[in-house]
């Protein structure tokens, strides 16, 4: 049994697009929530993802840590380091202008890129995956690459965990309250600063996981920090600041459009994701689920 060629391509686009969307979501969700909380423009977020990628790379290669465990290692290391940055640098600029925040975080991103170029060189690296993540799965009517299926499963699991944390726990309720109305949340005794540090750490850690997960798909070079930052910003802006649902919808829409564009029009491939994002933003400047 097999599918017609058109349907086959459509299934490929949906499947690959969904896998790509999971990567976009995992990295962007932290950026969206922290921007929603403090209105802080963090252009160094891509650098956290890139750092996570290199930690996964080193952990699996040099220290022989299993791939899955190395993702957790990256999560905790990058999350912990990001708290230092948040306390020492970012926290001084919460009331500063957007321009100062942009400049500080571009500076940090440049420093991160330079540091990782110095250590690992500018050449894109690939990762040696465990056997069970290689190859194809046969589901009867066609085959799917195992790694992308794995990415979708991991992404779905993370979404479930994050959704539970965001919508069903006390801390999640506090975060939502602070995004909605920061001063009101403070006045009823929520420590927004501490909440922010926590979400910043978790968000950066998730970015690190996303960076690690993306290596088999995209390869990893230091310029990742800037190149993919653009996509994360697109996802956050299109989804709406601080909106969990918005980030998920935006990641899926942009992931599938980008993949589809590259499948169907190889030459104009890069164009679609921007065109779609710009059109959505022109109609809804605050994003799909953002508040004006």
């Amino acid at each position: 049994m097999s599918l017609s060629p058109t349907l086959n391509i459509a299934v490929s686009i949906l499947f690959d697009g969904l896998a790509y969307a999971m990567f976009l979501f995992i990295v962007s969700v932290g950026l969206s929530v922290t921007m929603g909380l403090m209105g802080f423009v963090n252009l160094a977020h891509g650098a956290f993802a890139m750092a996570g990628g290199y930690i996964v790379l080193s952990a699996t290669r040099a220290w022989g840590v299993p791939f899955f465990l190395s993702l957790l290692v990256a999560f905790f290391i990058v999350g912990a380091v990001s708290v230092v940055f948040e306390r020492v640098l970012y926290s001084k600029l919460y009331k500063a202008t957007e321009l100062d925040q942009v400049l500080l975080t571009i500076g940090l991103a440049f420093m991160a890129i330079a540091t990782f170029t110095y250590i690992y060189g500018p050449i894109p690296q690939s990762i040696h995956l465990p056997e069970y993540l290689n190859g194809q799965i046969n589901v009867g009517f066609r085959t799917f690459p195992v790694y992308r299926a794995f990415l979708i499963v991991v992404g779905a699991a993370l979404i479930a965990v994050l959704w539970y944390g965001f919508e069903r726990t006390n801390i999640g309720a506090k975060i939502r309250a602070a995004v909605d109305n920061r001063r009101m949340a403070q006045s009823i005794g929520i420590n927004v600063d501490r909440l922010f540090t926590l979400t910043f750490a978790v968000g950066s850690g998730l970015a690190a996981i996303g960076g690690g997960l993306s290596i088999p798909l995209l390869g990893l070079s230091p310029s990742f920090a800037i190149i993919y930052l653009v996509f994360f910003l697109l996802v956050v802006a299109v989804g709406g600041l601080g909106s969990f649902k918005g980030t998920l919808v935006a990641a899926i829409v942009l992931g599938i459009f980008d993949t589809g564009g590259k499948y169907l029009y190889a030459d104009a491939g890069g164009f679609f994701i921007y065109a779609v994002a710009v059109l959505i933003l022109l109609v809804k400047p605050a994003g799909l689920y953002g508040r004006d």
């Binding site: 921007m35 209105g39 423009v41 640098l89 001084k92 600029l93 500063a96 957007e98 321009l99 100062d100 942009v102 400049l103 500080l104 571009i106 500076g107 940090l108 991103a109 440049f110 420093m111 991160a112 890129i113 330079a114 540091t115 170029t117 110095y118 800037i226 653009v230 910003l233 697109l234 956050v236 802006a237 600041l241 030459d267 104009a268 890069g270 164009f271 921007y274 065109a275 994002a277 710009v278 933003l281 022109l282 400047p285 605050a286 994003g287």
Partner: protein
């Protein structure tokens, strides 16, 4: 309008005691408003230095030319970022449009005459600036950042879509640029280029200076400081922002055109995020919103790049990142801000 001007309030700040202080404050404020556009002898310094550099470093004129182009590029950004307060991550779009206008005119139509090509570049960049500004300047914050960034990348992707015209990522090499005024040949050491760029910079600088000291420039400062109040007094905010954005785009287009003419080649790399970020960094290093910040910032940036990149590109990137972090943390108004603070401290020390 006069009450909202921050520079004026600053100039008038020291005397704010009893009733007698009020009239002195008013007098000082009036003096500031009437004298601020007068030329000070200090303003000759950068031009004297630029001409001196021509005689002192005759073998570094290629570098000097690129620095002057970056000064012009940073100046165009100062107009919208420093004076109108528009934060954009896509200023390279106009630089790129200017550069490609020169390149396409020369390579496809054999139009190598530099001055008219410069005007054509300014016009092309102004059209793109007007269109994108009219569409995008109603947005603020993250949306505006993402929209300006996306527009620039879309221009780059469009260029990449038509490799037969734009040469794709390989760009257009070996542009034939005619001698300036039909007389001055371009020499290997860029002496002509340097003076050519300096002259263009001089003309455009005084144009920008005139703009920011005009009532229009005051309205821009008002928009930067308090948009709500400008709306309330009936100022056509969007129209003014689009106007200044178009002017800045035209100037950035001229900078791009000079870049293409003096290098005789152009690639799609001119649209890179690094180019948009780089010019913003230059302006931040020098100090935004004070015209001469563009000079200081571009020179610091280019000299550092020259020294550090020779050692290793990674050093350069690390150095500029570190400098940026330090600027934001300790010298938020750039080099000129530090100088102003130092001058104020000295004055306070010696009454």
């Amino acid at each position: 309008m006069a009450e909202t001007n921050p520079a004026m309030a600053e100039a008038a700040a020291p005397s704010s005691s009893a009733t007698g202080g009020m009239s002195a404050q008013r007098a000082r404020a009036i003096a500031f408003m009437t004298n601020r556009h007068h030329l000070s002898w200090l303003e000759t310094i950068p031009w004297v230095l630029a001409i001196a550099a021509y005689f002192i470093f005759p073998d570094r004129m290629t570098f000097g030319t690129q620095t002057l182009i970056m000064v012009l590029f940073a100046l165009s950004l100062d107009l919208i970022l420093g004076f109108a307060g528009i934060v954009t991550l896509g200023h390279a779009a106009f630089f790129g449009v200017g550069a490609y206008t020169v390149a396409l005119l020369a390579s496809r139509y054999g139009w190598g005459e530099p001055i008219t090509a410069l005007l054509a570049s300014a016009a092309a960049a102004a059209v793109v600036g007007f269109a994108s500004g009219w569409l995008l300047l109603r947005y603020r914050g993250l949306s505006l950042l993402v929209l300006t960034l996306s527009t620039t990348i879309m221009l780059q992707e469009i260029g990449n879509l038509f490799p037969t015209i734009t040469g794709g990522y390989d760009g257009i090499p070996g542009l034939q640029i005619s001698p300036l005024f039909g007389v001055f040949q371009y020499d290997l050491y860029s002496h002509t280029n340097y003076l050519y760029c300096l002259a263009v910079l001089f003309v455009l600088f005084f144009m920008v200076r005139r703009i920011v000291n005009s009532p229009f420039g005051e309205a821009l400062a008002g928009i930067r400081e308090n948009v709500a109040r400008m709306h309330a007094i009936g100022s056509p905010v969007h129209g003014r922002l689009v106007a200044v954005y178009t002017i800045a785009a035209a100037i950035a287009g001229v900078a791009g055109a000079l870049f293409a003419q003096t290098n005789a080649y152009v690639t799609l790399g001119v649209f890179d995020f690094e180019n948009s970020a780089g010019v913003m960094v230059m302006l931040a290093l020098g100090g935004a919103g004070r015209l001469y910040g563009a000079f200081a910032g571009a020179v610091i940036y280019m000299v550092l790049q020259d020294y550090l990149a020779k050692m290793s590109p990674a050093f350069w990137q690390f150095g500029i990142g570190l400098l940026l972090v330090f600027t934001v943390m300790f010298a938020r108004r750039g080099l000129f801000g530090v100088l102003e603070d130092a001058r104020r401290l000295l004055r306070r020390g010696t009454p």
